[in-house]
């Protein structure tokens, strides 16, 4: 707010009035988003969770895969002193193999957040580009492109992933690819439907009559108009992707032990729910907090990008 230069009462009052070129859609959206406290709070929390996961392991001092069979599933706050005198507190306890839960949550968060954000990003990029093109071109192009999407839709996801892993071996990259390859399909359909409606609007015709080229119309006039639904769908995709990763890991196709992700941690925790509930409680808390924040940030973004919903 303080950065926006107020038009100073200038002595050159008789010159042509200085016209401030308008802020872009993004600057505008940012200004509106800043006023949405809940979204900003959740955004801050998300950043904190990301930093926590990626920087935290250096601070706790524990190795997420180091086992200690003397401390099986100890409750939060247990103090471990190694024979050499080093050690510290297990703030969130240990798992049945004596590994520090807090550090494992951080390590697992790295994997889950990466999968969630990268796969959604890939889905977003391909889905929006593909859907917008199909919707804009229409006719035979649309037919061909959407039938291709239908064919991919019909492929059973699990068989697809099993096929990939047997052919290329298990790797993180493959999970990104496989999930991205599935998630973009729905995105493409949503965007295509939206674009089909928009293309029939007169302002697209008007843009053509101004001499804009097809890519320019898509980028300037069509895609900003579909951002609302796209953003909401993306915030729904991130949790879906994280759950998919958890399911894959559960089947032994995703993250391999002793490595962890939030999905695998929650699975392990659910098995030990009766004896040591903190194994489920802490990873689940992080997982839900992340999804919660994503939803509010998504809502906030949608409102910020809708020029009609919130007036200046």
């Amino acid at each position: 707010m303080s950065t926006a230069a107020a038009p100073a009462p200038s002595p050159a009052a008789f010159e042509l009035p200085h016209v401030q070129p308008g802020r872009s859609l993004w600057q505008d959206a940012w200004a509106r988003l800043r006023r949405n406290r809940l979204a900003i709070l959740c955004g801050g929390l998300l950043v904190a969770i990301v930093l926590f996961c990626f920087l935290g392991p250096w601070l706790t001092g524990w190795n997420p895969t180091e086992t200690n069979l003397a401390l099986k599933a100890t409750p939060p706050g247990t103090v471990e002193i190694r024979p050499d005198g080093s050690g510290g507190k297990h703030w969130m306890g240990t798992d049945p193999l004596g590994r520090d839960i807090l550090t494992r949550i951080m390590r697992g968060g790295q994997v889950s957040l990466m999968v969630g954000l990268v796969a959604t990003g890939v889905a977003l990029l391909i889905g929006v580009g593909y859907g917008a093109t199909a919707g804009y071109l229409g006719g035979r192009w649309d037919m061909g492109m959407m039938r291709f999407v239908d064919v991919l839709y019909a492929l059973p996801f699990m068989i697809f992933v099993i096929l990939l892993t047997t052919m290329f071996g298990k790797s993180m990259l493959l999970i990104f690819l496989a999930i991205g390859a599935v998630e973009w399909l729905t995105m493409a359909r949503i965007v295509r439907a939206q674009v089909q409606v928009l293309v029939r609007q007169e302002f697209v015709e008007a843009a053509r009559s101004l001499g804009l080229s097809t890519p320019a119309i898509l980028i300037r006039h069509i895609i900003p108009n579909v951002l609302g639904p796209v953003i909401v769908y993306s915030t729904l995709t991130v949790p879906a992707v994280m759950l998919l990763e958890a399911a894959l890991s559960f089947l032994g196709l995703g993250v391999q032990p002793p490595d962890s992700s939030w999905g695998t941690l929650i699975n392990d925790g659910a098995e030990n729910l009766e004896t040591s509930p903190w194994l489920l409680l802490y990873p689940a808390a992080f997982f839900s907090a992340t999804l919660f924040c994503l939803n509010f940030v998504g809502d906030g973004l949608r409102d910020a990008l809708d020029v009609r919903a919130s007036k200046d």
Partner: protein, 327 residues
Amino acid sequence: MSTVLDVQDLKVSFHTRNGVVRAVDGVSFKVEKGKTTGIVGESGSGKSVTCYSLLGLVPMPPGRIEGGSAKFGDVDLLKLSEKELQRIRGSRISMIFQDPMTSLNPWLRVGTQVAEPLRLHEGLSKSEAWKRAVEALREVGIPDPEKRIHQYPHEFSGGMRQRVMIAMALITRPELLIADEPTTALDVTIQKQVLDLIRDLQKRLGIAVVFITHDLAVVSEVCDYVNVMYAGRLVEASPVQELFARPRHAYTQALMRSIPALQRKGEPLYTIPGLPPDLANLPSGCAFRPRQTPERQALCLTDRQPPLVEVSPGHWAQDCPGCLIRD
């Protein structure tokens, strides 16, 4: 008087599942610098398609330009590539549309949209273009343009939006403005203001205007020359006073009889019986025949389409014995 646009024998058809629709079938007209040429007709008479095809805005397929030429300066618009047309659209020929509520992008500030043709065709910097946009908005009578330019379309009324569209169309000082029913969606008082505005700007800037409308009252107000279209063809073309003084074709006369303001109070409004013909299978011969009164219907051509003849100097009408009324 220099001719800005010279359309000769334009033919546009749509190839659909239900056959070939001849939307425009051999239309010729000229547009003079500083003059307004009207194209009048019912819905589906081909008046909009005529103009869209000039700018390459007819979707192809299913649309197809079957023949003719449209000389604009020294180029034939119908023979240009999409790239070449893009350079002409919005810089030398601009267009305004029927519905100002939907022809502005709701997501972009008015200033961004008005400045867009300048940025695109003249490569101006953003601040330069915005300065010119403020001037353009002032020119079309938008009060307080420095403030309004930062607003979004939904903060403008219908009439104001149409003014914005006009500012946007004229900001590059085009040689030709195509106005596709620009006042149809506005209420009558606003309609008058917008018509006055278009006429004023045209006089001041000396541009040529093609004015598409179905409203004869509007025609009498703004046009210098009128083309009456029916079923994809011109049925009558004349200077405006001449047309209103002596309409020669039965269709033009019927149109004039349908103007509500000219009818006597208390009587049922006159309407032309029947519907415009299906352009996918036109009757051979006079297209207006099915809607004629029985005694005249018998006189209409049935074997061939009536050609245009010059009835009096500058006044052309379709030469159908049933429809053409000579002195």
